[in-house]
Each structure stands twice: as structure tokens, then as C-alpha cells.
Point group: C2
Chain length 268, copies 2
């Protein structure tokens, strides 16, 4: 399949005027598709971009799978046209899709990961928070803050001092046996695995000040493609160790998340 | 000249991971080029994208002009590659250029314009403020707030309540005979005309609370392509009139700005 292209005047390129989804395909079928579809619809509503039909979207997984697991990336832009930031009279969105084989990182499921805090503080913009739009420079800048391969993710704190997410994953923690995830109504992305876990009543939204992060009972990062990684080690942005956690014998969050994604649960 | 294209995996499309410049060409030669170049260089430094050579950039205006005035749009992306937000080992930036004939709006120079306040509040992100990056959804959303053709621009206020800029222009005002422009160190774009006027000592940076906007002596919006439009009428985001200004017989800001751009100054 040749790689799709967009022209110079596509507004996705010019302004990041569009949305994307990254979907796990298992045997050619999308996992948690209803959640991806709902988030795309919400993004279209916020940005005022016409939502493609379910049929149009489903064309992205009609060809036979090349691997048992693939990642489908969908990009939906507002298309071309308009004078500067002003919209064209007729918006003709551009939908692009690409599939690549995927292998999950079982070692990170099993042994957990080391994460670090990022220096960058996420700005607040409630009009863009939660949706998966194409303006991702904060994530790109944050991801440039470390190069050590053993650091699996960077945690993002907002300008109010609350932990929000990781650069490409949501964040989960436990306190007194309850499971939580930060709100994403000022910044951050409302991940589809996060949404499914909220719907299942498994987790609840709560704020988490960065100063309270080292003392949480347990910490995880996760998304709908990679599954859930228990955090074993937390480092400061300068690299110093802040906290460590053991690998727990029972992990109900990973178990439920992996059930939703069709992944095995891994215990020590 | 065929329209340039970028592939699906270009990071400018995927994340808005890049920069742009919109340059006035007069008889095929860029106007205020040193300022555009300086801003592009600053953006490259902030985002850690290699700056193309002066020679590479100048290829964009080597063909004969199609009109006395043209707009040159340059897009510089980080190119393809990398795993997610992480950068590729070797960054190969992609430089794209497009020229289109341009006609300045002399009526707006002469008679001034009506502007309105936007509801959207710009978020703060000092790491991205000032540079002309490709993450422009705030501008796109703000520009959707009005459809009246006689409203020439929308004024953007930040989350602290300060006026910062217009959706595609910088803002200037006078107070006790001195000329000012808002700081753009938390959000907004540092326009090249604004930079040239600052260098010339014509204007100075100062904060302007949105509540003080209706009582300024004079107000202008301007950029390096359109020149300077005196503001004659200011409307609230709901459309109600907030303030009006007469067309002054002498306009030193427009005179100096238009001298820099090679445009005439227009008096009533």
C-alpha cells in the first residue's frame, strides 16, 4: 500500500487542523473501536469538522491483515482551502489511514517500567483538552527531554502542578485500594483505554499533585495499543530517583485493561 | 509549479512538528527577510530542528515573479520518522515553499477596520510562545467565532486577561503619545513587522488588560504582508459595540510600518 500524501495547502499540515486515532487491530479488527469512534466524533464536534461515516472509517481495515497485531493510524484533517485561518465555504475533510505490524512489549507488562518527570509544564486550553488533535508540539518537546532507553515514559505535569498523563499514555494510580486517573479537562488526551476503564467503573477521576506522586500506593501508565505498564521506578526530571515500587503479585488494573484489549495478564 | 506534497508520516502533518513563515515578495524579493530568517532560526532552536542554509531558503524566490506582489509561504517540518513522539536518530527536515500573487487591501489601510474580541482565551506555553510553529488550532478556533465580512480581525486575550494579538496579526496601541505592543512570551506570535518596529524604537512592549482596551487612544492591527490597519471600531465577542476611534489625520505608526514594507501611507 503506497503511503498516502497530503498537499501543501492541507490544513492538517498548515495548522495541525485535524485529529488522529491510533487503533490496535487484532486479526484485522479494531479493538475498542467504539471508544475511538466516540473520541473522533467529539473532536470533530469541538473543531467543527464533519465526521466521516462509519462506512468510510471502516474502509481502513477492510484489507486482509499482514500480522496478528497491527496499529492502524487514522488522520482526519479539515482538508484544503480557506483564507488563512478562516474556513473554506465548503469543508472537504481528508481521511488518511496507515497500518503497520505491531509487537507488544511483554517485558514491560511483566517487569514494569522506569518513568521520569518532564520539565515541560502542559498549558491549559479547555477547548482542546481531551481530544486527540494534531497540535502535539508539547508532547514532542517533552519526549526530547530524555534519551535513556530504559526510561519508558515521561510524566507530564500541568501549569497548576497536577500530574496529567505520560507523553503518549494515560496515568493510573491507586490509593487505599481505589484506582484513579487524572482529569483531562484542561489539557491532556482522554485515552480510549482510560475511557473504557472509567465506563467499567474500574477507575475514577481525581487530581494528583506532583508532590504526592512519589507516595502513591501504585502507579501505572497505559494506552489502548501498548496495554498497561506498572511503574517500578520514578525519576525526577534531572534523573535522580524519587520512588520505587515492587511488582505486586496481583494486578487488577492490568488484568482488566488487558482483558479489554485481548492481552494476557502477566504476574511475577 | 505543482503543489508540493508531504507523506503521511511527515511529522509536520502528524504533530504540527514544524514551523512556517509567510513572506511578502516585492518584485520577487522578500521584504523584511532578515526578520523572517531570525524568527525561523529561533523556532528551529526552540524545537531542535536543523535550520536550512540561507542558500536553501533562497531557492524559494529564484524563479521570476508572476506579480509585483506575492506571498511566499514556507513550511519547514522535522521530516519523517521517529517512534511516536520520539525523534528519529537522523532528522531530515522537509522544506516546502509556495508563492501566490497578492493584492494589498488599500481600503483597510485608508478607512481602517472593525475588529472584535474573541471568546477563546489563549493558553500559556512559554516554550512555544513567539515562534511561528504549526500548532495553530487556537487561531483556527478563534477565527471560527465570527462570519461577518466587515469584521476584519478578532482580538485574542490570554488566560490572564491580557490582550495579546489578533488571529493573524499583531496588535499596537498608543497611550499619551507613545506606541506599544503586547509581550508574546507566554503565547502569541512575534510578528516580523512588530520586530522591525521594536528594533526601530518606534514601539515598546507593555501589557494591556482587556478591560483597558476600549480606552486606548488609538489601536492598530498589522503584519508584514497586509501592512497596518487602523482600528476604527471594537466590538465585544457578542457583537455589541465597545469603542470607536476616528481616522486620525497623521498616522506615524502606519507611516513607519509602510515605509519598512514599501507600501504607501494613506491619509484621509
Amino acid at each position: 500500500m503506497p503511503m498516502p500524501q497530503v498537499p501543501f495547502d492541507d490544513r492538517g499540515l498548515a495548522y495541525g487542523d485535524g485529529l488522529f486515532e491510533t487503533v490496535l487491530l487484532r486479526d484485522g479488527q479494531p479493538v475498542l473501536w467504539e471508544y475511538h469512534h466516540a473520541r473522533l466524533a467529539k473532536g470533530c464536534q469541538r473543531l467543527n469538522i464533519p465526521l466521516p461515516s462509519a462506512w468510510q472509517l471502516s474502509q481502513a481495515w477492510q484489507s486482509p491483515p499482514e500480522a496478528a497485531l497491527e496499529v492502524l493510524k487514522l488522520i482526519l484533517t479539515r482538508g484544503s482551502g480557506g483564507r488563512g485561518y478562516a474556513l473554506p465555504d465548503q469543508v472537504a475533510p481528508r481521511l488518511l489511514a496507515r497500518r503497520t505490524p505491531f509487537t507488544a512489549n511483554q517485558s514491560r507488562w511483566q517487569h514494569g517500567v522506569c518513568v521520569r518527570l518532564c520539565h515541560l509544564r502542559l498549558g491549559h486550553q479547555p477547548l482542546l483538552a481531551g481530544i486527540k488533535h494534531l497540535n502535539r508540539l508539547e508532547n514532542v518537546l517533552a519526549r526530547q527531554e530524555w534519551h535513556e532507553p530504559h526510561v519508558a515514559e515521561g510524566l507530564l505535569v500541568d501549569q497548576a502542578g497536577n500530574v496529567v498523563e505520560a507523553t503518549s499514555m494515560n496515568l493510573f494510580w491507586s490509593s487505599r485500594g481505589h484506582l484513579y486517573t487524572p482529569r483531562v479537562d484542561q489539557c491532556g488526551v482522554a485515552g480510549t483505554l482510560r475511557a473504557a476503564l472509567l465506563d467499567a467503573g474500574m477507575i475514577h477521576e481525581a487530581p494528583l499533585a506532583v508532590d504526592d506522586l512519589p507516595s502513591v500506593e501504585r502507579l501505572w501508565v497505559g494506552n489502548s495499543v501498548q496495554g498497561v505498564w506498572p511503574v517500578r521506578e520514578l525519576r525526577e526530571a534531572h534523573g535522580c530517583e524519587l520512588a520505587t515500587w515492587p511488582r505486586f503479585a496481583v494486578d487488577p488494573l492490568q488484568t482488566e485493561a488487558h482483558r479489554l484489549l485481548g492481552y494476557p495478564s502477566v504476574f511475577p
